[in-house]
C-alpha cells in the first residue's frame, strides 16, 4: 500500500516550529520517503501563529494536499486554526493542559477568524474552547491523543535526574515531533541522528533534546493506540537530497560563477543572500579558493547599482529581491538595458500590492516584471517551476545574460522559497558556462557598442587592457558617448531590441516551455504552480481523466510560435495562477490571440494545493465550473 501522509506542526512564531519540522522532515527523508514541506508564517518575530505542513510519500510528490493526517500542537491557536483540516481517520496530539482554553484567551486569533469559528461552534452547539473544537473533530472520526507536555517534562527530568529540564518550554517542539514519530511507528534511530545534525553546533543542547526525544517517542509508542497510519520506512532512493527553497538559486549561483551579489533585506528573498555569504569562500577545482562578495546595501536602488557596477568589470553579478524591492530597481534596470549589461535579478515574488501580504505567497508580479522600466529595452523574464529546476535555470539565466548582453529576471516566489523538499541531487556538470562575446584581450581600436550582424557587440570590461569604453543612460554612439542623432537612434534601438528575436531563435525550445502531455483540456501555467498541477494531473489520470499541461518558462520574450504549436490540438485552455487577474492569461492572449476558457486563481497568499486543483479541474471537465474558479484553502 502506498504512503501519502501529511503532518502538521504549529505554534507561536519563535517556538521552534521550523526546527521541529526540519527534524521531522529529515527523519522521514532518511527513512526513504519523499518530502514536500511548506512553512506559513506572519510578518512578525514572536508570538503570531506559524505552522509547517510536511507531506510524506513513497512516491515523488510535488505539492501539499488539503487534508492533514496528524497534527501536533503545543499551543491552543494551532488547534483552533487547524482542527478542521484533519482527515476523518487522522489524529491530533495536543497538550491536555489546554482543554479549557477558550478563544478569548488566545489574543492572536483575529476577529474575522474568530467570528467564523464561533459560527461553526454555535451551529454544532459546542463551547468556544479547545474541548469544543476537539469534540467537533472527534465526531468526524479524528482520534485525539492528549498529553500534558508539562508533566512529560517533569517525569523526564526525574528519570534522568536533571531538574533543568522541568520548565524547558523551548523543547515542546522536540516533544511534539517525537510523540508524532512514536505514534506512526517510525523507527527511532534516525530521530537521534537528525537531532545531532540539526544541533551540530550546540552539543549540549543536542544532548538534552535527544533525551527528551527518546523519552517522548517511547511515551507515545506505548501509550497512544489505534492510529491508522504507520510509516516504517521504505527503500531509499539513491542521490536524494533534502533542500530548502533558496538552495536551488544559491547553489546555482555558486556553480554558475556568480561572484558578486548585492541585496537589501526583504522577505522572502534574503535567505538566499545570507546563505551565499555563509558560503562566501568557494572551492575551485585545481585552483586557489574563489569567493562571492555579498554586500548588504542601504536600499534596493543601491543593490542594483552595485550589481551593475560589478557586472561592468566582467564579473557575473546578481541581486535577489521581492516585488517592492524590484519596484525600486526599475530605473536602473533600464540603464542595464540600454547599456547592454549582463545581470541576473532573482525575484522571489510575494503577495502585493505595496507591502501586501509580506510573508505570503503570490505570483502577482508577472505583468509588472515583463513591463518593468521606462522606455523600450530588451530583457529576459524566466520562471522556474520547482527548486530542482531553479538550480539549472540559474545557470541558464547567467548564460542568457552574457550571450544576449541583457538583464535577466529569474522569477521565483514564496511558495518555492519556503518549501522543504526531497529531490534528485543537483548535478553541477549539467550547467554550462557560456560568456558569449566577452573578450579575453583587445588590440586596436575598440567600440563597445559596435554595430554587428547579430546585434551583439564584443564586450570589454572595466580595467581591461586597451578596452576603454563609455557607458551612459543617454542614447549613445558605438563608443558609448551621448548622441541625439535620429539615425544613430534608429540603429541603436534596432540593435538592442533585435536580441529578443535572437533569444527566441537560439534558446532551445525545451527551455522555453515544457509540455506535460497535451489533451483536449490543457492547462497553461508558469512558476511554482507546476507542483500542484502535476499532482492534480496524476490524481485525475488515475480516474481516467486526461488533462494536459504546458509550463511556460520563458515569459519574455514570449515563445509565441512554440506555445501555439504545442497547443494546436488542445480544445479547452485552462490558465492556473496565484494572482487575481490571470496575468499569464493576459500575456498569452496578447501574443497568441486565443481566448483562455477557464481561469483557476488563488490570491489568499497561501499556496495552491493539489486537492483544490483536482476539485476545480474535475468541475471543468464535468462542465460544472465557473469561468473563473477562485481557490481559498489554507489558514
Amino acid at each position: 500500500m502506498s504512503t501519502d501522509f501529511t503532518w502538521l506542526i504549529g505554534g507561536p512564531q519563535g517556538s521552534g516550529v521550523e526546527s521541529g519540522a526540519n527534524i521531522f522532515s529529515k527523519v522521514c527523508a532518511q527513512m526513504g520517503y519523499q518530502i514536500f514541506g511548506k512553512r506559513e508564517f506572519y510578518s512578525n518575530i514572536k508570538g503570531e501563529h506559524s505552522y509547517f505542513t510536511v507531506r510524506v510519500s513513497d512516491e515523488k510528490i510535488h505539492s501539499n494536499v488539503n487534508d492533514v493526517d496528524l497534527m501536533v500542537s503545543f499551543d491552543a491557536e494551532t488547534i483552533f486554526r487547524h482542527f478542521d483540516e484533519i482527515s476523518s481517520n487522522g489524529g491530533i496530539i495536543y497538550d491536555s493542559e489546554l482543554e479549557n482554553t477558550d478563544t478569548d484567551r488566545v489574543r492572536t486569533l483575529d476577529g474575522p477568524f474568530k467570528e467564523r469559528l464561533h459560527n461553526l461552534l454555535e451551529s454544532k452547539n459546542k463551547p468556544f474552547t479547545i474541548a469544543g473544537v476537539l469534540e467537533v473533530a472527534k465526531e468526524k472520526g479524528v482520534k485525539l491523543y492528549p498529553v500534558s507536555f508539562k508533566s512529560l517534562l517533569e517525569t523526564l527530568s526525574e528519570e534522568v535526574d536533571n531538574p533543568r529540564l522541568r520548565g524547558l518550554v523551548r523543547m515542546y517542539n522536540v516533544l511534539g515531533v517525537s510523540l508524532s514519530l512514536g505514534l506512526i511507528k517510525m523507527p527511532s534511530n534516525s530521530l537521534v541522528d537528525s537531532i545531532d545534525d540539526i544541533f551540530s553546533k550546540k552539543p549540549k543542547i543536542a544532548e538534552i533534546n535527544k533525551q527528551a526525544a527518546t523519552f517522548s517517542y517511547k511515551y507515545s509508542s506505548t501509550n497512544f493506540e489505534n492510529f491508522d497510519h504507520t510509516l516504517t520506512g521504505v527503500e531509499k532512493q539513491l542521490d536524494t537530497i533534502l533542500v530548502q527553497g533558496h538552495f536551488g538559486c544559491s547553489l546555482g549561483k555558486m556553480v554558475s560563477g556568480c561572484r558578486f551579489q548585492s541585496y537589501y533585506p526583504i522577505t522572502p528573498a534574503s535567505d538566499e543572500s545570507v546563505y551565499l555569504e555563509s558560503n562566501e569562500i568557494l572551492e575551485i577545482e585545481n585552483d586557489r579558493p574563489g569567493s562571492t562578495i555579498v554586500v548588504q546595501t542601504e536600499d534596493e536602488i543601491s543593490a542594483i547599482g552595485m550589481m551593475i557596477g560589478a557586472a561592468l568589470t566582467g564579473t557575473r553579478s546578481s541581486t535577489s529581491t521581492s516585488g517592492p524591492g524590484f519596484a525600486l530597481m526599475t530605473e536602473a534596470l533600464g540603464w542595464a538595458g540600454i547599456n547592454e549589461v549582463a545581470v541576473v535579478i532573482t525575484l522571489y515574488q510575494r503577495s502585493g500590492p505595496s507591502t501586501g501580504l509580506p510573508t505570503r505567497h503570490g505570483q502577482d508580479d508577472l505583468l509588472f516584471t515583463v513591463f518593468a522600466g521606462c522606455g523600450d529595452f530588451p530583457k529576459i523574464v524566466y520562471a522556474s517551476g520547482d527548486i530542482e529546476e531553479s538550480f539549472y535555470d540559474t545557470g541558464n539565466c547567467f548564460n542568457y545574460a552574457d550571450k544576449y548582453q541583457i538583464p535577466v529576471i529569474h522569477m521565483m516566489d514564496k511558495f518555492l522559497s519556503s518549501s522543504v523538499v526531497t529531490c534528485k541531487k543537483f548535478n553541477p556538470k549539467k550547467i554550462s558556462i557560456d560568456r558569449g562575446k566577452l573578450l579575453d584581450k583587445i588590440e586596436g581600436e575598440y567600440k563597445r557598442f559596435a554595430l554587428t550582424d547579430d546585434g551583439i557587440s564584443p564586450r570589454s570590461k572595466l580595467g581591461m587592457d586597451n578596452g576603454v569604453f563609455w557607458n551612459t543612460g543617454d542614447e549613445s554612439d558605438e563608443y558609448g558617448h551621448i548622441t541625439e542623432d535620429p539615425q544613430v537612434r534608429i540603429k541603436m534601438m534596432d540593435k538592442r531590441m533585435s536580441r529578443l528575436d535572437l533569444a527566441l531563435e537560439t534558446i532551445p525550445v525545451s527551455d522555453q516551455a515544457v509540455p506535460f502531455e497535451i489533451h483536449d483540456y490543457t492547462i497553461i501555467s508558469w512558476g511554482s504552480t507546476k507542483g500542484p498541477i502535476l499532482d492534480a494531473q496524476s490524481m485525475l489520470k488515475k480516474e481516467g481523466i486526461d488533462i494536459g499541461f504546458v509550463q511556460i518558462k520563458l515569459l519574455h520574450p514570449f515563445p509565441t510560435e512554440y506555445v501555439k504549436s504545442l497547443l494546436k490540438n488542445a480544445k479547452v485552455l485552462i490558465d492556473i495562477e496565484a494572482n487575481h487577474s490571470g496575468q499569464l492569461g493576459k500575456i498569452f492572449k496578447q501574443n497568441i490571440t486565443r481566448d483562455i476558457d477557464y481561469h483557476i486563481l488563488k490570491y489568499t497568499g497561501r499556496g495552491i494545493t493539489s486537492t483544490e486543483l483536482y476539485d476545480s479541474l474535475k468541475k471543468i471537465v464535468e462542465n460544472k465550473a465557473e469561468k473563473r474558479e477562485v481557490l481559498s484553502h489554507g489558514a
Binding site: T240, G309, A310, A332, T422, N466, G473
Partner: protein, 320 residues
C-alpha cells in the same frame, strides 16, 4: 611611454556653458591622472546625472555615466569587483546630497578605497536653475520665483559625520590647488570626499566667481580680498595620527566647526584625514584572505565551458 595630459582628453564636444566652473574640475582631474601616471585602462570615472554627469565622456579613461543620485552605488560595485582599478566618482550637489544622500551616508560607513567629487554650485543647472541642497536658506538665485525656503546641507560636515576618512574642499578656479587635492584624495587609503565650489555662471547669480573673489568686499582697496583661503596656510592640522579616541574626536570636531565657516571667509584644503580606519578591502580580507589577489573580476569560473566550482561538500551535507 609616459602619458601626457592630452592623452586623458577625449574629442567629445564639451557643451558646458562658457565660463562654467566645471571646466576647472575636469582639467584638474585630467592633470591629476597624468601626474599620477595612471594608465587610461586602469581608471574608471563614474558620473551622476546633470551637467557634471557628462564629465566621464570628456576623460579618456573608462567612463560610466550612471543615474541621477546613484553614482556611488555603481562606483562601489565596480571597485569591489575589481579593486585594482582607480575609481573616481563625480556628480553635482543635487545628485549626491539630494536624491543620492542616502548613498552618500552609506558609502561613508563602508570606507571603500575610492574618491568622490561633488561639483557644488547650489543650483540644478540642467533643469534650469532650481535650488539645490547646498543653497542657503533665504537666498534667491536667478530662476527662483521666491527665496529658498530650505536650509542647506553641509557637505563637509555630512561627510565627516558619515565616516568618510578624507574630507576636503577645493575651488574650481584654483585648478592647481584642486589638482593637488585630487591627487591626495586618490592616494588616500579609504573613501575620500572632495567638495568643489563651482560657480554656475548661468543660474547662480549669488555665489558667482566675483563673489568668491570678494569683489564686493574689495571696494577701492588693492589688498587681497578673496573669500577663499587655504587651510594649509593656517595652523589647521587635519590628520589623525594615533587613532586614539581623544585625538579622533578632536579632529572630527574641528573639521565640523571649520565646515560651518562661510561668508566672508571660506576655507578650502583638507578638513579631515584618517587612514587608521580600516578600508573596506581589509574588512573583506579579514574573512576572505585572498580577496585582493583573486577578486571577483579576476576569478576563473569555468574550464572548457563547464563550471569549476566544487560544491560537492555542500551537496553531500544535504544527502539523505
Amino acid at each position: 611611454m609616459a602619458l601626457k595630459l592630452a592623452d586623458y582628453k577625449t574629442d567629445v564636444h564639451n557643451d558646458w556653458c562658457p565660463g562654467c566652473g566645471d571646466f576647472g574640475i575636469v582639467n584638474a582631474l585630467q592633470m591629476a591622472l597624468a601626474e599620477m601616471g595612471i594608465e587610461r585602462d586602469k581608471a574608471t570615472i563614474f558620473s551622476g546625472i546633470g551637467c557634471s554627469g557628462k564629465t566621464s565622456h570628456f576623460i579618456n579613461t573608462y567612463g560610466v555615466h550612471t543615474l541621477h543620485g546613484r553614482v556611488l552605488t555603481f562606483a562601489q560595485g565596480g571597485k569591489l569587483a575589481n579593486p585594482d582599478m582607480t575609481v573616481v566618482a563625480v556628480g553635482g550637489d543635487g545628485d549626491g546630497l539630494g536624491i543620492g544622500a542616502g548613498h552618500f551616508v552609506a558609502a561613508g560607513r563602508r570606507n571603500i578605497d575610492m574618491t568622490y567629487i561633488i561639483f557644488d554650485n547650489g543650483v540644478y543647472g540642467l533643469t534650469k536653475g532650481q535650488a539645490s541642497p547646498t543653497l542657503k536658506l533665504g537666498e534667491q538665485t536667478k530662476s527662483l520665483p521666491s527665496p529658498n525656503t530650505n536650509s542647506n546641507v553641509n557637505p563637509i560636515g555630512l561627510a565627516v559625520a558619515s565616516g568618510f576618512t578624507f574630507v576636503a574642499r577645493g575651488y574650481s578656479y584654483d585648478v592647481r590647488h584642486l589638482k593637488d587635492l585630487i591627487v591626495k584624495a586618490v592616494k588616500h587609503k579609504g573613501l575620500s570626499f572632495l567638495d568643489v565650489l563651482q560657480p554656475c555662471p548661468t543660474y547662480n547669480d549669488v555665489n558667482t566667481r566675483d563673489w568668491y573673489a570678494g569683489v564686493d568686499q574689495a571696494k577701492e582697496s588693492m589688498e587681497r580680498h578673496s573669500r577663499i583661503y587655504k587651510l594649509e596656510d593656517t595652523k589647521f592640522d587635519p590628520t589623525v595620527n594615533y587613532a586614539g579616541e581623544v585625538e579622533v574626536n578632536e579632529k572630527l570636531s574641528q573639521a565640523l566647526v571649520k565646515s560651518l565657516e562661510w561668508g566672508d571667509k571660506i576655507p578650502t584644503g583638507v578638513f579631515y584625514q584618517n587612514e587608521l580606519v580600516s578600508p573596506f578591502s581589509t574588512r573583506l580580507t579579514d574573512k576572505i584572505p585572498n580577496y585582493l589577489e583573486n577578486p571577483p573580476a579576476k576569478q576563473i569560473i569555468s574550464d572548457s565551458g563547464l563550471p569549476n566550482t566544487d560544491i560537492s561538500k555542500i551537496l553531500d551535507s544535504l544527502n539523505v
